[in-house]
Subunit: 279 residues, 2 copies
Amino acid sequence: MTQYFTEEGSVQAVNDRMGPNINPRLAVVMAALVKHLHAFAKEVHLTQAEWDYGIDFLTKTGQICSAERQEFILLSDTLGFSMLVDAINNRRPEGATENTVFGPFHVDGVPVREMGANISLDGKGESCLFEGRVVDLAGNPIAGARVDVWSDNADGFYDVQQPSIQPQHNNRGVFITGADGRYSFVGIKPVSYPIPDDGPVGQMLGHLGRHPYRPAHMHYLVTADGFERLVTHTFVGGDKYLESDAVFGVKTTLIAPFNRVEGGATLWHSPFDFVLTPA
Amino acid sequence: MTQYFTEEGSVQAVNDRMGPNINPRLAVVMAALVKHLHAFAKEVHLTQAEWDYGIDFLTKTGQICSAERQEFILLSDTLGFSMLVDAINNRRPEGATENTVFGPFHVDGVPVREMGANISLDGKGESCLFEGRVVDLAGNPIAGARVDVWSDNADGFYDVQQPSIQPQHNNRGVFITGADGRYSFVGIKPVSYPIPDDGPVGQMLGHLGRHPYRPAHMHYLVTADGFERLVTHTFVGGDKYLESDAVFGVKTTLIAPFNRVEGGATLWHSPFDFVLTPA
């Protein structure tokens, strides 16, 4: 008996159409996507005009994308979808450092620097000593861990956003831990900044009564043989956007102390230990 | 107490962020969208690689859109979402003619033609007399009803898809009923055709083991003062794609007879009555 489309049977009508010899994971993912999308339309009784608006919004979101801009990632980020996917795929045991979103500003090929080196190359901002240890769940130091760090500059831009203004690899560095598991480097106390808000996603945030700011943070990608890859930030404690990060990246355990130093080599000191999970 | 993002509390974290003075309908629609999107990711345990693939798919879908092509509508159509929105917004009483998708090929400004006129201007295809009545739920004729019709030509293309090949308004016409509620016109027996399948949606259909064809159909937009706007097709009974319409437009009640005529003015005869619902 053929299942023609009906409002009640809409999900089955669509999902029954899948062929018998397709990728089984694709079948599972698409069947669930159709089920949840249809449930959404039914729950809110989506009108034709709202559907038109949605089609137009998605089209504009795609059309503003370029080599330098990914508006669909921004959409995913601002709907908490990126953080959710990150959370689902990076469940960690108690005590391990938590993941957060990778973001679009990581760069490959940044040079390994001497431990303690200054990564701020443009002379702007308030200097800060970042230091701590990379350890396993039992607190033992991990030697040979690769600590890849990056942040915005004092104007709120990453070097890749201002290639003609900032020195290459400004506020970036890679550090390899020794036997003590320690890392340290000098950077700046990061500043909060808005995500690009002059496109469809920015308009959406405006309509939702939300601001586009991210609280100040330092990015870390920490890897070591035998351990799970850790993608995270440390957030500047006390930042006014901590409780309203536009992309929902903040976790309580990732808020780091930034202590004012009197008469030291840097203005600030931010200690933080990274606890890796066995692979 | 601040609600930072957690996997369990992801929906609340996002939806609590909405401002207090926003459009209340927007708040309802977005809260439901976030809830269902997050439920989808959680149900299938969406991987980071699948998320990457989805971002890339949506981006390509947006970027292929142009003045002549709307790939997001095609995506909505092929996931049954367009038909669902149509169904939700056009619930009809028993006996009333059902709606189906409008499609992208309607044209405004088509001339009103004499009752019985031939709308096939390119001389191709198998001629067919379409006739019937426009009536109310009690079967009374509706005078002054506007019957706007359009179909593809014998090659499976609408005139607007081949502006340099087909005559303007080929297989299109508008007819106004008289006191008897009757309409009639000569067209061709429509043919089945594929939706545009050389883009991301076509690739998706391929991966899902689905073909891109629509069963042959004649489009109708029937309007009359005091009645709901009827957007529908009649489908050619016996078409081999009736049970697998790529956009799920077929409803049992919309399958029309196409009877072969021996020795008549046309090769085919397709009678169909339209029953309008009071506004």
